[in-house]
């Protein structure tokens, strides 16, 4: 092999890591600043959550619970999921409860609710209810307590109002009614919901996790203990698309969203450039562009590093 090529690869083996940092930074920043349309493929774990939530549409006797078990550090991945689920619930008139277990998550819940509710005519205590921050040590007693009586286990909401007096609690008593819990976390904290709320009370559990935690949660997804899962930013992007295509769809035939259909989702492409969809509802899809480029760059680095490794090894032999 040409001596110059070997020398080049030799040099590249010891490249200053700051050059790698610059390339990674640019590959993330440019797609975020200049969004482009890319196809979002919807997977079954996300689809299952959508269908379950949508089956509660307009039903006064059903509700979902969103459990926030993360802080601001993992917001870029988890926040778009949370906003999309809230948007879906508000679009389709589904009762939604929120709860958080970390002090740092309390403003996050407010931020998610404020982001989603400004486009809808919804009222706290009627259409949604924020149970607020509950200390982590109370997680287990509250989880178990909600199986018998939510109002008794949670007692007050984030505004200090008695839960039992709120209009939203009409027809909602325990997990039989609040039949879907989605745990948003950067860990396997959904396991606790599976162990206590699902095993004991038969509640449906879903998880929204960061991409690095997906592999850890797969066993529960395969057994059906998790009825669905948002898999990192990709899961959030998929849900954003589902809400755009179905729940937020308006026409003469479907004034309040249309029912899910595999054919429609396959055929439909939602453009993320332009103003058709507000920025807050397409954040994950824009982020997926950056993730695509970043993954390609990392793969490129791996391949380049290995080519260099084999060339220099051959030279040494």
């Amino acid at each position: 092999m040409n001596k110059n090529v070997i020398k080049l690869f030799d040099k590249m083996q010891n490249i200053d890591r700051r050059y790698i940092y610059i390339v990674v930074a640019l590959s993330i920043i440019i797609p975020l600043l200049i969004p482009f349309n890319s196809r979002t493929y919807v997977t079954k774990p996300t689809e299952d959550i959508y269908k379950k939530i949508d089956s509660f549409a307009g039903d006064e006797t059903k509700a979902i619970l969103m459990s926030f078990t993360h802080d601001a550090s993992t917001m870029p991945e988890l926040f778009p999921m949370e906003v999309s689920v809230l948007r879906h619930c508000f679009e389709r008139n589904i009762k939604v409860f929120t709860i958080c277990w970390l002090p740092a998550a309390a403003p996050l819940v407010d931020y998610a609710l404020n982001t989603a509710k400004e486009d809808f005519d919804v009222q706290s205590g009627v259409d949604y209810c924020n149970f607020g921050y509950k200390p982590y040590v109370l997680r287990l007693p509250i989880m178990l307590g909600m199986g018998d009586d939510i109002a008794k286990a949670v007692e007050t909401d984030s505004q200090g109002r008695k839960i039992e007096n709120l209009e939203i609690m009409k027809n909602i008593k325990n997990y039989d009614d609040m039949n879907l819990v989605i745990d948003f976390a950067a860990s396997s904290s959904a396991l606790q919901w599976i162990t206590y709320a699902r095993a004991r009370f038969g509640a449906n559990i879903a998880a929204g996790v960061t991409a690095v935690m997906v592999a850890d949660n797969y066993p529960y997804l395969q057994t059906g203990q998790l009825m669905g899962m948002f898999r990192g930013l990709k899961g959030a992007a998929e849900y954003e698309k589902l809400v755009d295509v179905f729940a937020a769809y308006e026409s003469k035939d479907y004034p309040n969203g249309r029912p899910f259909s595999k054919e429609i989702i396959k055929e439909t492409r939602v453009p993320i450039t332009g103003d058709t969809v507000p920025y807050k509802y397409k954040k994950a899809r824009i982020g997926m562009n950056a993730q695509s480029i970043a993954h390609i760059m990392i793969i490129f680095f791996i391949l380049l590093g290995n080519i260099g490794y084999f060339i220099t090894r051959k030279k040494e032999l």
Partner: protein
């Protein structure tokens, strides 16, 4: 007595909670309600303890001017000011507390987490080598899963996301499940040892 009393409390309550899980009797439910009330009453003290501890640790650092003591001043100032903003003007949208969250905590926390991407890229280039057959399998699996995670993977070939799902669903699952079963059996054995008073190291000492 110093060891026997805590041991009696743990064994008694341990068996009571096991019984509560399997016996849905009124006595069992009442016991659980009583426990819930106590936990609610006790938990706020943990917060006070945490704040006290933070003040003591950082207060000592500032007092003794230990290296980087300036960071301790910022930590305590952040704690006091955030708490003050929350108590004074509430935590709703548009308040100083929420402003602090949106403009200080959120971007700083996300920035720290985002640093991971740079380290991963650098480590991938410098250390992810096909040195052996096992490392080569790992490398190929990583590339497939990474491509399967982004839309580009499906655009290249339908086979990529399918293979990615297979890797997560079969080899990954088998390994995870084996680890989980091992951990589960270990936890059950340790719990039983604690309940029966065989395992006492948590009380201090080694017997």
């Amino acid at each position: 007595m110093k060891r026997q009393i805590p041991l009696i409390i743990i064994i008694t309550l341990g068996f009571m909670f096991v019984a509560h899980s399997f016996i849905p009797h009124k006595i069992s439910t009442d016991f659980f309600d009583w426990y819930q009330d106590w936990v609610k009453a006790v938990s706020p003290f943990a917060v006070s303890l945490g704040i006290m501890s933070l003040f003591m640790v950082h207060g000592t650092k500032i007092k003794r001017k230990i290296s980087n003591w300036q960071y301790s001043v910022i930590t305590l100032a952040g704690l006091v000011f955030t708490a003050f903003a929350g108590f004074m003007w509430g935590t709703q949208s548009g308040t100083p507390y929420m402003w602090l969250f949106e403009n200080v905590q959120m971007p700083m926390s996300a920035t720290m987490f985002a640093l991971l991407a740079f380290y991963i890229a650098s480590a991938a280039y410098k250390a992810f080598r096909a040195r052996s057959a096992e490392a080569t399998v790992l490398l190929i699996a990583a590339i497939i899963v990474m491509l399967g995670q982004v839309p580009l993977g499906a655009m290249i070939s339908k086979w990529i996301p399918e293979s990615s799902t297979w890797i997560l669903n079969v080899p990954n699952l088998a390994a995870k499940r084996a680890i989980m079963i091992g951990v589960g059996l270990g936890m059950t054995a340790t719990s039983l040892k604690i309940l029966l008073g065989i395992e006492r190291t948590y009380l201090g000492g080694g017997d």
